[in-house]
Symmetry: C2
Subunit: 221 residues, 2 copies
């Protein structure tokens, strides 16, 4: 009885410590990037010795990838859920954007890391964790492709390579997150949801039906 309870106490503490290290690592990696961050600094931030790092993780890269994988997997799954639960294309896109922006507001440090390290993460590698991450990224890309393909077939999106429309949507989203990170804006990015969706579907052109102002030529091609 007591034995089992005590054992689980040790385990719970270990897991908690692992989590503390991961959170410290997230802060340091977000500040410095993978290469410039040192194991020493992470250990210090987590208030453990350097050796303790290697109880929980095989090496620095393993620590880094473990950190990213959890969130990536979770976000990827959430995105698939919300997209598949919506019936209408416009709702799918709207929910996709909302989910992404909410995740950003919840954990900017994670997106800071991703923004800086994405090229490395999608590079070729033998590492299992990194392969899985790459796969996860491609799955999300495929999810967006599906959405676009569907929209094109329904005649609701312009007739192009679905991937190009996907790139466009993701590009707009990433550009907003990057801007929020660059300027250190504290207001929630989720407030941009409808603007982003409208810009994606309708573009930047003013579509209001008003009499033209002075000196304007007709814009439509």
């Amino acid at each position: 009885m007591q034995g089992e309870e005590n054992l689980s106490r040790r385990l719970r503490e270990k897991i908690a410590h692992r989590q503390e290290i991961l959170e410290a690592a997230k802060r340091v990696f977000a500040r410095k990037g993978f290469h410039a961050a040192t194991v020493d600094e992470i250990a210090q931030e987590a208030d453990f010795s350097k050796g303790a790092m290697y109880v929980h993780f095989a090496n620095k890269e393993d620590l880094f990838l473990s950190l990213i994988q959890e969130k990536t997997e979770e976000l990827g799954e959430r995105l698939e859920e919300v997209v598949h639960s919506a019936d209408d294309l416009e709702n799918k896109v709207r929910k996709f954007v909302k989910t992404y922006l909410d995740a950003f507001d919840e954990d900017k440090e994670f997106f800071q890391i991703i923004a800086a390290e994405h090229p490395r993460l999608t590079a070729q590698t033998q590492d299992r964790l990194q392969l899985r991450l790459r796969e996860r990224y491609l799955e999300t890309l495929r999810l967006v492709d599906e959405m676009m393909q569907e929209g094109i077939h329904q005649g609701r999106l312009r007739q192009t390579e679905p991937r190009f429309l996907g790139i466009t949507l993701l590009g707009i989203i990433h550009s907003f997150t990057a801007q929020w990170l660059l300027l250190g804006r504290k207001d929630p990015l989720s407030r941009m949801e409808s603007l982003i969706v409208e810009l994606f579907f309708g573009g930047a052109r003013d579509n209001r039906k008003v009499g033209s102002r002075k000196g304007e030529k007709d814009v439509s091609p």
Copy 2:
């Protein structure tokens, strides 16, 4: 007479060598990124010794920033030129996009470096070169802001913060360059010019005036 000619020959050679080093460095930085690239490897690629690096550049970072600055400055100036030389908003945007995409097709390695290192480049710093780079980036951002502001005042763009429209345009462009780099596509990105411009102005929605297909609801809000 002869002396002056000889002096200039030496100078010309020195300048040429500097250029060779810069080009070798570009290849290595594009492959490895700033941190993972070593001065030894750059020297080897340039077919010089490591010591020769330090004749031309104060240190590794100076080499890196010099490399980027030249192109950045040139691209920034070219963008300002073409934008200011066009009269119409749509032409400004079109030329902006074309100039950017052409520059990408001309030198993908440069954009590979920028894509990977942009967060570091816009970070806070004391370094003079890096400060100048950050300033150059902000100037281009301002250029885009101006374009958008003008379009908004003319009633040709939707009434929002000009910066948001700028983010959108740049986001779409960057997303396409990133995709081209990720997949190693060899076909010129400049072929995407009109698609990108149309997506920016008109969005992803299909605007053709055709009878709706089966099972479609009206999409417009």
